[in-house]
């Protein structure tokens, strides 16, 4: 591939990048090829050592996407309009669709924890029972063991689910922040 072919191809692949930035990128590669030739490479070699325009465009694509994101973040201070709308929109959406279920699920977790706690303290009742009534000691022992293990397992499972629930909320919160900050 000649230098011109390489630059044309790269230019085509970077079509969605604004012209100023695209020219800047192309000039980096042009200067590189020129320097490589000055240092004794043939044009063909200099171009081949760069790798394919496709690989370069892929690499740039990622960065360009992140640049856009950080660029719009910077704009938030000057360009407040769309962000207020995004913010109000998200607020309304969250109040109507998200808040209810979240409170519901949180309530369910309180219930689950209460149930687990109840199971865990049931053995106390059995122990008291041992003194006040003449319950067979083996039966009491097994009941204590059973309710306590069940309660403990229950607590573990609830804890696990609660952790995921919190993670989900955290993720959703970050998503909200991202939408409000980067909505241009």
């Amino acid at each position: 591939m000649t230098k011109q072919q390489f630059l044309n191809e790269l230019n085509r692949l970077l079509g969605q990048i604004p012209e100023g930035e695209r020219k800047d990128i192309l000039s980096d590669y042009e200067a590189h090829i020129d320097s490589a030739i000055e240092n004794g490479k043939t044009e063909e070699e200099a171009v081949a050592d760069l790798g394919s325009p496709k690989t370069i465009a892929d690499e740039l694509g990622v960065f360009v996407a992140t640049d856009k994101l950080s660029g719009s973040k910077k704009e938030t201070t000057t360009n407040v309009g769309p962000n207020i709308f995004a913010f109000l929109g998200m607020l309304l959406f969250n109040l109507i669709f998200i808040l209810g279920p979240v409170v519901g699920v949180a309530g369910a977790f309180i219930g689950l924890y209460a149930a687990a706690f109840a199971c865990l303290i049931t053995p106390v009742a059995f122990i008291i029972n041992l003194f006040t009534h003449d319950t067979p000691i083996l039966l009491a022992f097994f009941l204590i063991l059973a309710t306590f293990s069940f309660g403990y397992l229950f607590l573990l499972v609830t804890n696990f689910l609660a952790k995921w629930f919190l993670k989900l909320i955290h993720w959703y919160w970050k998503l909200n922040v991202k939408i409000v900050k980067g909505s241009n």
Binding site: I25, D28, Y29, A31, G51, S52, T55, I56, E59
Partner: protein, 105 residues
């Protein structure tokens, strides 16, 4: 070599090469491709990202031959980032070496 692995190392190398003196694109890329096999073109997107993130400042300077060259200068933030990367790298490679030594005995 593993691509992600190479990318991380490449970032480190680029920053190290600019620590003592400012470098222009070709110089930087060439000094790396001399030692590590890479597609030279992939270094420029990296330089761009590091510049956008404020680790590099760029300026143009005249050269004896041909048009002015774009130089990359490590910023204060870049130097701090480099120090952090070097530390992470040394810990990481020390651990890997340890594992290799233990495993190859």
């Amino acid at each position: 070599m593993n691509v992600q692995f190479k990318k991380g190392a490449l970032e480190l190398c680029v920053l190290v090469f600019t620590l003592k003196k400012d470098r222009y694109g070709y110089e930087l890329v060439h000094s790396i491709s001399d030692k590590i096999q890479i597609a030279e073109g992939t270094v420029y997107p990296l330089l761009r990202r590091l510049t956008n993130e404020g680790y590099f400042a760029t300026y143009l300077a005249e050269s004896n031959e041909g048009p002015p060259r774009k130089y990359y200068q490590l910023t204060k933030a870049g130097r701090e980032y480099l120090e952090q990367l070097v530390q992470e790298w040394q810990q990481f490679s020390a651990s890997v070496n340890e594992i290799i030594e233990e495993g190859m005995d």
